[in-house]
Symmetry: C3
Subunit: 156 residues, 3 copies
Amino acid sequence: MVVASAEARIRELGLIIPTAPTPFGAYVEAVRVGSLLFLSGMLPVVVHVPLYTGLVGKDISVADGYDAARTACLSGLAAARSHLGSLDRIRSIAKLGVYIACPSDFHEHPKVADGASELLRDVFGAARLPPRIVLGVSSIPLGMPVEIELVCEIES
Amino acid sequence: MVVASAEARIRELGLIIPTAPTPFGAYVEAVRVGSLLFLSGMLPVVVHVPLYTGLVGKDISVADGYDAARTACLSGLAAARSHLGSLDRIRSIAKLGVYIACPSDFHEHPKVADGASELLRDVFGAARLPPRIVLGVSSIPLGMPVEIELVCEIES
Amino acid sequence: MVVASAEARIRELGLIIPTAPTPFGAYVEAVRVGSLLFLSGMLPVVVHVPLYTGLVGKDISVADGYDAARTACLSGLAAARSHLGSLDRIRSIAKLGVYIACPSDFHEHPKVADGASELLRDVFGAARLPPRIVLGVSSIPLGMPVEIELVCEIES
Protein backbone atom coordinates (compact mmCIF):
# COMPACT_ATOMS: atom_id res chain seq x y z
CA MET A 1 0.00 0.00 0.00
CA VAL A 2 1.32 3.42 -0.87
CA VAL A 3 0.71 5.75 2.04
CA ALA A 4 0.54 9.47 1.33
CA SER A 5 3.15 11.50 3.18
CA ALA A 6 1.82 13.16 6.33
CA GLU A 7 4.38 15.95 5.98
CA ALA A 8 3.28 16.56 2.36
CA ARG A 9 -0.37 16.69 3.44
CA ILE A 10 0.49 19.20 6.17
CA ARG A 11 2.12 21.44 3.57
CA GLU A 12 -0.84 21.08 1.17
CA LEU A 13 -3.32 21.87 3.91
CA GLY A 14 -1.27 24.83 5.11
CA LEU A 15 -1.38 23.40 8.64
CA ILE A 16 0.87 25.03 11.21
CA ILE A 17 2.35 22.47 13.61
CA PRO A 18 3.13 24.45 16.78
CA THR A 19 6.23 24.39 18.90
CA ALA A 20 6.44 21.08 20.77
CA PRO A 21 4.91 21.22 24.27
CA THR A 22 7.06 21.04 27.38
CA PRO A 23 6.08 19.24 30.60
CA PHE A 24 4.15 20.71 33.55
CA GLY A 25 5.88 18.32 35.98
CA ALA A 26 8.27 15.38 36.38
CA TYR A 27 7.54 13.61 33.10
CA VAL A 28 8.50 13.67 29.42
CA GLU A 29 6.35 14.21 26.35
CA ALA A 30 7.17 10.94 24.55
CA VAL A 31 8.73 7.52 25.07
CA ARG A 32 9.29 4.92 22.39
CA VAL A 33 9.06 1.20 23.11
CA GLY A 34 9.73 -0.94 20.07
CA SER A 35 7.33 0.17 17.35
CA LEU A 36 5.08 2.13 19.72
CA LEU A 37 5.46 5.80 20.62
CA PHE A 38 3.59 6.74 23.80
CA LEU A 39 2.79 10.43 24.23
CA SER A 40 1.83 12.36 27.36
CA GLY A 41 -1.67 13.81 27.64
CA MET A 42 -1.88 16.76 25.26
CA LEU A 43 -3.69 19.96 26.21
CA PRO A 44 -5.03 22.95 24.25
CA VAL A 45 -2.18 25.21 25.27
CA VAL A 46 0.11 27.58 23.42
CA VAL A 47 3.49 27.91 25.19
CA HIS A 48 1.93 26.81 28.53
CA VAL A 49 -1.00 29.26 28.25
CA PRO A 50 -4.41 27.53 28.10
CA LEU A 51 -6.33 28.46 24.93
CA TYR A 52 -9.59 27.39 26.59
CA THR A 53 -10.69 26.68 30.15
CA GLY A 54 -13.95 25.41 31.64
CA LEU A 55 -16.40 22.59 31.02
CA VAL A 56 -17.72 21.84 27.52
CA GLY A 57 -21.49 22.26 27.42
CA LYS A 58 -21.45 24.56 30.45
CA ASP A 59 -18.65 27.15 30.18
CA ILE A 60 -17.70 26.70 26.53
CA SER A 61 -19.63 25.53 23.45
CA VAL A 62 -19.34 22.26 21.56
CA ALA A 63 -17.69 24.21 18.71
CA ASP A 64 -15.05 25.53 21.11
CA GLY A 65 -14.62 22.00 22.47
CA TYR A 66 -14.04 20.79 18.90
CA ASP A 67 -11.37 23.45 18.44
CA ALA A 68 -9.79 22.60 21.80
CA ALA A 69 -9.58 18.92 20.77
CA ARG A 70 -8.01 19.91 17.45
CA THR A 71 -5.53 22.25 19.17
CA ALA A 72 -4.51 19.59 21.70
CA CYS A 73 -4.10 17.04 18.92
CA LEU A 74 -1.87 19.50 17.01
CA SER A 75 0.30 19.64 20.15
CA GLY A 76 0.46 15.85 20.01
CA LEU A 77 1.67 15.97 16.41
CA ALA A 78 4.25 18.56 17.46
CA ALA A 79 5.49 16.31 20.26
CA ALA A 80 5.66 13.30 17.93
CA ARG A 81 7.49 15.26 15.22
CA SER A 82 9.92 16.62 17.80
CA HIS A 83 10.68 13.07 18.98
CA LEU A 84 10.79 11.39 15.55
CA GLY A 85 12.16 14.14 13.31
CA SER A 86 9.29 13.67 10.82
CA LEU A 87 5.64 12.63 11.02
CA ASP A 88 6.30 10.44 7.98
CA ARG A 89 7.81 7.92 10.38
CA ILE A 90 4.33 7.29 11.83
CA ARG A 91 2.77 4.24 10.24
CA SER A 92 -0.55 4.33 12.08
CA ILE A 93 -2.23 5.67 15.20
CA ALA A 94 -2.87 2.80 17.62
CA LYS A 95 -4.94 4.82 20.10
CA LEU A 96 -6.68 8.17 20.18
CA GLY A 97 -8.07 9.00 23.62
CA VAL A 98 -10.26 12.10 23.88
CA TYR A 99 -11.09 13.17 27.43
CA ILE A 100 -13.65 15.96 27.76
CA ALA A 101 -14.29 17.93 30.96
CA CYS A 102 -18.09 18.27 30.97
CA PRO A 103 -21.17 17.99 33.18
CA SER A 104 -22.76 14.58 33.76
CA ASP A 105 -25.69 15.42 31.46
CA PHE A 106 -23.46 16.23 28.47
CA HIS A 107 -24.11 13.91 25.51
CA GLU A 108 -22.32 15.41 22.52
CA HIS A 109 -18.88 13.89 23.09
CA PRO A 110 -18.51 12.58 19.52
CA LYS A 111 -18.82 16.11 18.06
CA VAL A 112 -16.01 17.33 20.32
CA ALA A 113 -13.82 14.28 19.69
CA ASP A 114 -14.12 14.75 15.94
CA GLY A 115 -11.91 17.84 16.33
CA ALA A 116 -9.01 15.44 16.94
CA SER A 117 -10.22 12.65 14.66
CA GLU A 118 -10.74 14.89 11.64
CA LEU A 119 -7.30 16.43 12.07
CA LEU A 120 -5.72 12.96 12.12
CA ARG A 121 -7.79 11.95 9.06
CA ASP A 122 -6.62 15.05 7.18
CA VAL A 123 -2.97 14.47 8.09
CA PHE A 124 -2.72 10.67 7.81
CA GLY A 125 -5.56 9.94 5.38
CA ALA A 126 -8.91 8.21 5.76
CA ALA A 127 -7.25 4.80 5.33
CA ARG A 128 -5.41 5.29 8.62
CA LEU A 129 -8.17 6.38 10.99
CA PRO A 130 -7.38 5.31 14.57
CA PRO A 131 -9.56 3.54 17.14
CA ARG A 132 -10.91 6.02 19.68
CA ILE A 133 -11.72 6.11 23.40
CA VAL A 134 -13.93 9.06 24.41
CA LEU A 135 -14.82 9.86 28.02
CA GLY A 136 -16.38 12.75 29.90
CA VAL A 137 -14.25 13.54 32.94
CA SER A 138 -14.75 15.81 35.93
CA SER A 139 -11.70 18.00 35.29
CA ILE A 140 -8.44 18.28 33.40
CA PRO A 141 -5.14 19.84 34.58
CA LEU A 142 -5.25 23.66 34.88
CA GLY A 143 -9.01 23.66 34.23
CA MET A 144 -8.73 22.90 30.52
CA PRO A 145 -11.70 21.38 28.64
CA VAL A 146 -10.02 18.63 26.59
CA GLU A 147 -7.05 16.28 26.87
CA ILE A 148 -5.77 14.05 24.07
CA GLU A 149 -3.91 10.73 24.37
CA LEU A 150 -2.03 9.33 21.39
CA VAL A 151 -0.16 6.06 20.92
CA CYS A 152 1.53 5.89 17.50
CA GLU A 153 2.96 3.01 15.52
CA ILE A 154 6.42 3.89 14.21
CA GLU A 155 8.06 2.40 11.14
CA SER A 156 10.71 -0.15 12.04
CA MET B 1 0.16 -24.69 27.69
CA VAL B 2 -2.98 -25.89 25.99
CA VAL B 3 -5.48 -23.04 25.83
CA ALA B 4 -9.16 -23.88 25.46
CA SER B 5 -10.72 -22.45 22.33
CA ALA B 6 -12.66 -19.23 22.92
CA GLU B 7 -14.95 -20.01 20.00
CA ALA B 8 -15.68 -23.46 21.44
CA ARG B 9 -16.45 -21.93 24.85
CA ILE B 10 -18.82 -19.44 23.21
CA ARG B 11 -20.70 -22.31 21.57
CA GLU B 12 -20.82 -24.31 24.84
CA LEU B 13 -22.11 -21.30 26.79
CA GLY B 14 -24.68 -20.49 24.10
CA LEU B 15 -23.35 -16.92 23.98
CA ILE B 16 -24.58 -14.73 21.15
CA ILE B 17 -21.86 -12.44 19.83
CA PRO B 18 -23.73 -9.49 18.31
CA THR B 19 -23.14 -7.78 14.99
CA ALA B 20 -19.89 -5.82 15.13
CA PRO B 21 -20.37 -2.17 16.12
CA THR B 22 -19.86 0.65 13.64
CA PRO B 23 -18.31 4.05 14.47
CA PHE B 24 -20.17 7.14 15.70
CA GLY B 25 -17.56 9.44 14.08
CA ALA B 26 -14.25 9.64 12.23
CA TYR B 27 -12.57 6.56 13.68
CA VAL B 28 -12.38 2.80 13.23
CA GLU B 29 -13.23 0.00 15.66
CA ALA B 30 -9.85 -1.76 15.66
CA VAL B 31 -6.22 -1.29 14.63
CA ARG B 32 -3.51 -3.92 14.91
CA VAL B 33 0.09 -3.03 15.68
CA GLY B 34 2.37 -6.06 15.76
CA SER B 35 0.92 -8.47 18.30
CA LEU B 36 -1.46 -5.91 19.85
CA LEU B 37 -5.02 -5.22 18.73
CA PHE B 38 -6.32 -1.86 19.97
CA LEU B 39 -10.12 -1.48 20.05
CA SER B 40 -12.24 1.65 20.24
CA GLY B 41 -14.28 2.33 23.35
CA MET B 42 -17.18 -0.12 23.40
CA LEU B 43 -20.66 0.91 24.48
CA PRO B 44 -23.80 -0.98 25.54
CA VAL B 45 -25.54 -0.42 22.22
CA VAL B 46 -27.44 -2.65 19.83
CA VAL B 47 -27.22 -1.34 16.24
CA HIS B 48 -26.47 2.21 17.50
CA VAL B 49 -29.37 2.21 19.97
CA PRO B 50 -28.27 2.57 23.62
CA LEU B 51 -29.46 -0.35 25.75
CA TYR B 52 -29.01 1.75 28.91
CA THR B 53 -28.57 5.45 29.62
CA GLY B 54 -27.91 7.39 32.81
CA LEU B 55 -25.57 7.22 35.78
CA VAL B 56 -25.00 3.95 37.66
CA GLY B 57 -26.07 4.32 41.29
CA LYS B 58 -28.39 7.22 40.44
CA ASP B 59 -30.43 6.48 37.30
CA ILE B 60 -29.75 2.76 36.95
CA SER B 61 -28.88 0.01 39.43
CA VAL B 62 -25.58 -1.77 39.98
CA ALA B 63 -27.18 -4.88 38.42
CA ASP B 64 -28.05 -2.90 35.28
CA GLY B 65 -24.53 -1.47 35.28
CA TYR B 66 -23.16 -5.02 35.42
CA ASP B 67 -25.31 -5.94 32.41
CA ALA B 68 -24.25 -2.77 30.57
CA ALA B 69 -20.58 -3.69 31.13
CA ARG B 70 -21.21 -7.21 29.88
CA THR B 71 -23.10 -5.93 26.81
CA ALA B 72 -20.37 -3.43 25.95
CA CYS B 73 -17.74 -6.15 26.36
CA LEU B 74 -19.72 -8.43 24.01
CA SER B 75 -19.55 -5.61 21.44
CA GLY B 76 -15.79 -5.60 21.95
CA LEU B 77 -15.63 -9.33 21.25
CA ALA B 78 -17.74 -8.73 18.14
CA ALA B 79 -15.36 -6.02 16.94
CA ALA B 80 -12.33 -8.23 17.62
CA ARG B 81 -13.88 -11.22 15.84
CA SER B 82 -14.84 -9.04 12.88
CA HIS B 83 -11.24 -7.83 12.61
CA LEU B 84 -9.52 -11.15 13.24
CA GLY B 85 -11.94 -13.68 11.74
CA SER B 86 -11.92 -15.75 14.95
CA LEU B 87 -11.54 -15.04 18.66
CA ASP B 88 -9.21 -18.04 18.79
CA ARG B 89 -6.50 -15.76 17.44
CA ILE B 90 -6.53 -13.86 20.75
CA ARG B 91 -3.75 -15.10 23.01
CA SER B 92 -4.48 -12.86 25.99
CA ILE B 93 -6.14 -9.59 26.99
CA ALA B 94 -3.47 -7.00 27.78
CA LYS B 95 -5.86 -4.37 29.11
CA LEU B 96 -9.46 -4.18 30.22
CA GLY B 97 -10.60 -0.64 30.96
CA VAL B 98 -14.04 -0.22 32.55
CA TYR B 99 -15.29 3.36 32.71
CA ILE B 100 -18.48 3.90 34.68
CA ALA B 101 -20.60 7.07 34.53
CA CYS B 102 -21.60 7.57 38.16
CA PRO B 103 -21.90 10.17 40.93
CA SER B 104 -18.86 11.09 42.99
CA ASP B 105 -20.16 9.16 46.03
CA PHE B 106 -20.50 5.87 44.11
CA HIS B 107 -18.27 3.11 45.55
CA GLU B 108 -19.38 -0.15 43.92
CA HIS B 109 -17.29 0.04 40.76
CA PRO B 110 -15.87 -3.51 41.10
CA LYS B 111 -19.37 -5.05 41.00
CA VAL B 112 -20.12 -3.22 37.74
CA ALA B 113 -16.73 -4.00 36.21
CA ASP B 114 -17.18 -7.70 36.93
CA GLY B 115 -19.84 -7.72 34.18
CA ALA B 116 -16.99 -7.41 31.68
CA SER B 117 -14.39 -9.39 33.66
CA GLU B 118 -16.64 -12.41 34.19
CA LEU B 119 -17.57 -12.50 30.50
CA LEU B 120 -13.87 -12.51 29.55
CA ARG B 121 -13.17 -15.21 32.15
CA ASP B 122 -15.99 -17.36 30.73
CA VAL B 123 -14.79 -16.92 27.13
CA PHE B 124 -11.00 -17.06 27.58
CA GLY B 125 -10.72 -19.06 30.80
CA ALA B 126 -9.63 -18.19 34.33
CA ALA B 127 -5.98 -18.69 33.35
CA ARG B 128 -6.21 -15.70 31.02
CA LEU B 129 -7.79 -13.03 33.22
CA PRO B 130 -6.68 -9.53 32.15
CA PRO B 131 -5.36 -6.65 34.24
CA ARG B 132 -8.07 -4.04 34.79
CA ILE B 133 -8.37 -0.26 35.07
CA VAL B 134 -11.69 0.90 36.59
CA LEU B 135 -12.70 4.56 36.84
CA GLY B 136 -15.86 6.51 37.61
CA VAL B 137 -16.31 9.22 34.98
CA SER B 138 -18.68 12.15 34.68
CA SER B 139 -20.31 11.03 31.42
CA ILE B 140 -19.96 8.73 28.44
CA PRO B 141 -20.94 9.39 24.79
CA LEU B 142 -24.72 9.55 24.21
CA GLY B 143 -25.37 9.39 27.95
CA MET B 144 -24.52 5.72 28.32
CA PRO B 145 -23.50 4.31 31.72
CA VAL B 146 -20.47 2.17 30.83
CA GLU B 147 -17.64 2.15 28.29
CA ILE B 148 -15.16 -0.69 27.82
CA GLU B 149 -11.58 -0.50 26.53
CA LEU B 150 -9.81 -3.65 25.33
CA VAL B 151 -6.26 -4.22 24.12
CA CYS B 152 -5.73 -7.81 22.97
CA GLU B 153 -2.62 -9.84 22.33
CA ILE B 154 -2.85 -11.61 18.97
CA GLU B 155 -1.06 -14.81 18.04
CA SER B 156 1.91 -14.14 15.80
CA MET C 1 23.91 3.74 28.15
CA VAL C 2 24.59 2.53 31.65
CA VAL C 3 21.35 2.55 33.60
CA ALA C 4 21.51 2.70 37.37
CA SER C 5 19.91 -0.26 39.10
CA ALA C 6 16.40 0.44 40.36
CA GLU C 7 16.84 -2.12 43.14
CA ALA C 8 20.08 -0.44 44.24
CA ARG C 9 18.37 2.95 44.28
CA ILE C 10 15.54 1.54 46.38
CA ARG C 11 18.08 0.29 48.92
CA GLU C 12 19.95 3.62 48.92
CA LEU C 13 16.72 5.58 49.39
CA GLY C 14 15.54 3.21 52.13
CA LEU C 15 12.26 2.79 50.27
CA ILE C 16 9.93 0.06 51.46
CA ILE C 17 8.19 -1.70 48.59
CA PRO C 18 5.00 -3.09 50.14
CA THR C 19 3.46 -6.51 49.72
CA ALA C 20 2.11 -6.90 46.19
CA PRO C 21 -1.59 -6.01 45.90
CA THR C 22 -4.25 -8.64 45.24
CA PRO C 23 -7.34 -8.17 43.05
CA PHE C 24 -10.74 -6.85 44.16
CA GLY C 25 -12.51 -8.88 41.44
CA ALA C 26 -12.09 -11.16 38.42
CA TYR C 27 -8.79 -9.79 37.12
CA VAL C 28 -5.05 -10.11 37.65
CA GLU C 29 -2.49 -7.48 38.64
CA ALA C 30 -0.17 -7.86 35.63
CA VAL C 31 0.03 -9.35 32.15
CA ARG C 32 3.10 -9.32 29.92
CA VAL C 33 2.82 -9.07 26.15
CA GLY C 34 6.19 -9.14 24.43
CA SER C 35 8.28 -6.35 25.92
CA LEU C 36 5.31 -4.61 27.58
CA LEU C 37 4.04 -5.28 31.10
CA PHE C 38 0.47 -4.02 31.62
CA LEU C 39 -0.56 -3.47 35.25
CA SER C 40 -4.02 -3.14 36.76
CA GLY C 41 -5.10 0.19 38.21
CA MET C 42 -3.19 0.71 41.46
CA LEU C 43 -4.85 2.18 44.53
CA PRO C 44 -3.55 3.73 47.79
CA VAL C 45 -4.34 0.62 49.83
CA VAL C 46 -2.45 -1.40 52.38
CA VAL C 47 -3.63 -5.02 52.39
CA HIS C 48 -7.03 -4.04 50.90
CA VAL C 49 -7.56 -1.21 53.41
CA PRO C 50 -7.79 2.25 51.79
CA LEU C 51 -5.17 4.64 53.17
CA TYR C 52 -7.20 7.63 51.95
CA THR C 53 -10.79 8.13 50.79
CA GLY C 54 -12.67 11.12 49.36
CA LEU C 55 -12.13 13.76 46.72
CA VAL C 56 -8.85 15.69 46.47
CA GLY C 57 -9.46 19.40 46.94
CA LYS C 58 -12.70 18.74 48.83
CA ASP C 59 -12.28 15.93 51.38
CA ILE C 60 -8.50 15.66 51.41
CA SER C 61 -5.68 18.11 50.70
CA VAL C 62 -3.36 18.30 47.72
CA ALA C 63 -0.55 17.08 50.01
CA ASP C 64 -2.60 14.00 50.94
CA GLY C 65 -3.38 13.50 47.25
CA TYR C 66 0.35 13.59 46.52
CA ASP C 67 0.93 10.92 49.17
CA ALA C 68 -1.96 8.84 47.85
CA ALA C 69 -0.43 8.96 44.34
CA ARG C 70 2.95 7.94 45.74
CA THR C 71 1.42 5.10 47.77
CA ALA C 72 -0.55 3.77 44.79
CA CYS C 73 2.59 3.95 42.64
CA LEU C 74 4.52 1.99 45.29
CA SER C 75 1.83 -0.70 44.97
CA GLY C 76 2.45 -0.68 41.23
CA LEU C 77 6.17 -1.24 41.80
CA ALA C 78 5.27 -4.07 44.20
CA ALA C 79 3.04 -5.68 41.56
CA ALA C 80 5.73 -5.32 38.89
CA ARG C 81 8.44 -6.73 41.16
CA SER C 82 6.19 -9.63 42.11
CA HIS C 83 5.61 -10.43 38.43
CA LEU C 84 9.19 -9.90 37.23
CA GLY C 85 11.28 -10.96 40.22
CA SER C 86 13.25 -7.70 40.15
CA LEU C 87 12.55 -4.10 39.15
CA ASP C 88 15.92 -4.14 37.38
CA ARG C 89 14.17 -5.94 34.54
CA ILE C 90 12.23 -2.73 33.77
CA ARG C 91 13.90 -0.82 30.97
CA SER C 92 11.51 2.15 30.90
CA ILE C 93 7.98 3.22 31.84
CA ALA C 94 5.89 3.56 28.67
CA LYS C 95 2.85 5.07 30.38
CA LEU C 96 2.02 6.64 33.70
CA GLY C 97 -1.68 7.38 34.11
CA VAL C 98 -2.73 9.37 37.17
CA TYR C 99 -6.47 9.54 37.77
CA ILE C 100 -7.59 11.88 40.52
CA ALA C 101 -11.09 11.88 42.06
CA CYS C 102 -11.82 15.59 42.46
CA PRO C 103 -14.48 18.26 41.94
CA SER C 104 -14.90 19.89 38.53
CA ASP C 105 -13.27 23.12 39.73
CA PHE C 106 -10.06 21.40 40.89
CA HIS C 107 -6.99 22.64 38.99
CA GLU C 108 -3.94 21.31 40.86
CA HIS C 109 -3.70 17.92 39.20
CA PRO C 110 0.03 18.21 38.38
CA LYS C 111 0.93 18.64 42.08
CA VAL C 112 -0.94 15.43 42.93
CA ALA C 113 0.46 13.51 39.96
CA ASP C 114 4.01 14.42 40.94
CA GLY C 115 3.61 12.04 43.90
CA ALA C 116 3.86 9.19 41.40
CA SER C 117 6.23 10.89 38.95
CA GLU C 118 8.79 11.84 41.58
CA LEU C 119 8.78 8.30 43.00
CA LEU C 120 9.46 6.89 39.53
CA ARG C 121 12.20 9.48 38.96
CA ASP C 122 13.84 8.54 42.27
CA VAL C 123 13.69 4.80 41.50
CA PHE C 124 14.47 4.75 37.76
CA GLY C 125 16.44 7.99 37.42
CA ALA C 126 15.70 11.31 35.72
CA ALA C 127 16.85 9.88 32.37
CA ARG C 128 13.91 7.49 32.40
CA LEU C 129 10.96 9.75 33.21
CA PRO C 130 7.74 8.41 31.65
CA PRO C 131 5.10 10.20 29.59
CA ARG C 132 2.04 10.98 31.72
CA ILE C 133 -1.73 11.15 31.32
CA VAL C 134 -3.49 13.02 34.16
CA LEU C 135 -7.28 13.25 34.48
CA GLY C 136 -9.77 14.34 37.11
CA VAL C 137 -12.45 11.68 37.44
CA SER C 138 -15.75 11.57 39.30
CA SER C 139 -14.86 8.60 41.51
CA ILE C 140 -12.48 5.69 41.98
CA PRO C 141 -13.25 2.19 43.30
CA LEU C 142 -14.05 2.11 47.02
CA GLY C 143 -14.08 5.91 47.20
CA MET C 144 -10.33 6.29 46.95
CA PRO C 145 -8.82 9.59 45.75
CA VAL C 146 -6.16 8.41 43.26
CA GLU C 147 -5.61 5.52 40.87
CA ILE C 148 -2.36 4.84 39.00
CA GLU C 149 -1.91 3.10 35.63
CA LEU C 150 1.52 1.80 34.62
CA VAL C 151 2.74 0.18 31.41
CA CYS C 152 6.38 -0.88 31.67
CA GLU C 153 8.93 -1.83 29.07
CA ILE C 154 10.71 -5.05 30.05
CA GLU C 155 14.18 -6.09 28.96
CA SER C 156 14.07 -8.72 26.25
